[in-house]
């Protein structure tokens, strides 16, 4: 796999902040950022359920592999040179349940977190 498209939520401050941080990281796999439910996203992935992508982070591989929620987070981590090891660690059978729980918690409360952290515009 040589590229991943990240469908992120442009209305959430935390996601924009994460986008900025990711842009600066050294990558092993190219990351392309497209706002979810945008015309660009619909054009690139005509058969995808775009309402679903607004609920949680979605990452799509260059062969059309769809990763949603915690899996999408792990794939983004895997794309980063400095954090690939962490992607394997967090996806191990022992840690995966915890990873899922923590990621879901952050995802579901992303607007509140953004507001509390002063990241919302």
């Amino acid at each position: 796999m040589s590229g991943l498209t990240v469908l992120y939520d442009p209305t959430c401050g935390l996601c924009r902040r994460a986008h900025g941080w990711l842009a600066q990281q050294r990558k092993l796999v190219e990351l392309v950022f497209v706002p979810c439910k945008s015309d660009e996203a619909r054009r690139r992935f005509p058969h995808l359920d775009h309402d679903l992508t607004a609920l949680d982070l979605t990452v799509i591989g260059d062969q059309g592999q769809v990763y949603m929620g915690p899996k999408a987070w792990l794939m983004v981590l895997w794309a980063l040179s400095q954090y690939r090891e962490w992607a394997y660690r967090l996806s191990s059978p022992e840690l995966l349940p915890t990873t899922r729980r923590v990621v879901s918690l952050i995802s579901q409360n992303r607007y509140q977190i953004s507001r509390v952290a002063g990241l919302s515009r």
Partner: protein, 135 residues
């Protein structure tokens, strides 16, 4: 006579320390090469170069320590005192060499692990597939 024993102690200390450092560095140089060739995906020229640079650093740090730790701070009257002082000094050199050696092994294994991750497969299977239209 007083100065004589102290000086001999210093000379023996230097001889043992230098011999030990050379022995450990050569071991590292000889056996570390295989690791590095693997890390650099068979690029032997690069592996040899990095190997050599690592050994130079190893020599510099160890000889630096041996040199700094030479001074006893007291004079020695008898051969027994000389041997006792020598055992402490050489013991310290051995411990520093051991520490440096394990540190080097740690670096080798870390480089190797990092290199093996570059071609690693995705950590999780996809949830599904969708059609992709080129950008």
């Amino acid at each position: 006579m007083d100065i004589g024993v102290t000086t001999y102690t210093y000379l023996v200390y230097l001889a043992i320390s230098i011999a030990l450092t050379i022995w450990v560095a050569r071991t590292l140089h000889k056996n570390g090469r295989v690791f590095l060739v693997d890390v650099f995906h068979g690029n032997e020229a690069l592996a040899d170069s990095v190997n050599h640079l690592l050994v130079v650093g190893f020599y510099l740090i160890n000889f630096g320590y041996v040199s700094m730790a030479l001074k006893l701070g007291y004079s020695i009257a008898t051969a027994q005192e000389g041997i006792e002082a020598l055992s402490v000094k050489v013991g310290m050199v051995l411990i520093v060499l051991g520490g440096m050696h394990f540190f080097n092994l740690f670096i080798f294994s870390r480089m190797r692990r990092r290199a093996s991750l570059v071609n690693g497969p995705p950590p999780v299977p996809p949830d599904g597939f969708t059609q992709v239209r080129e950008a």
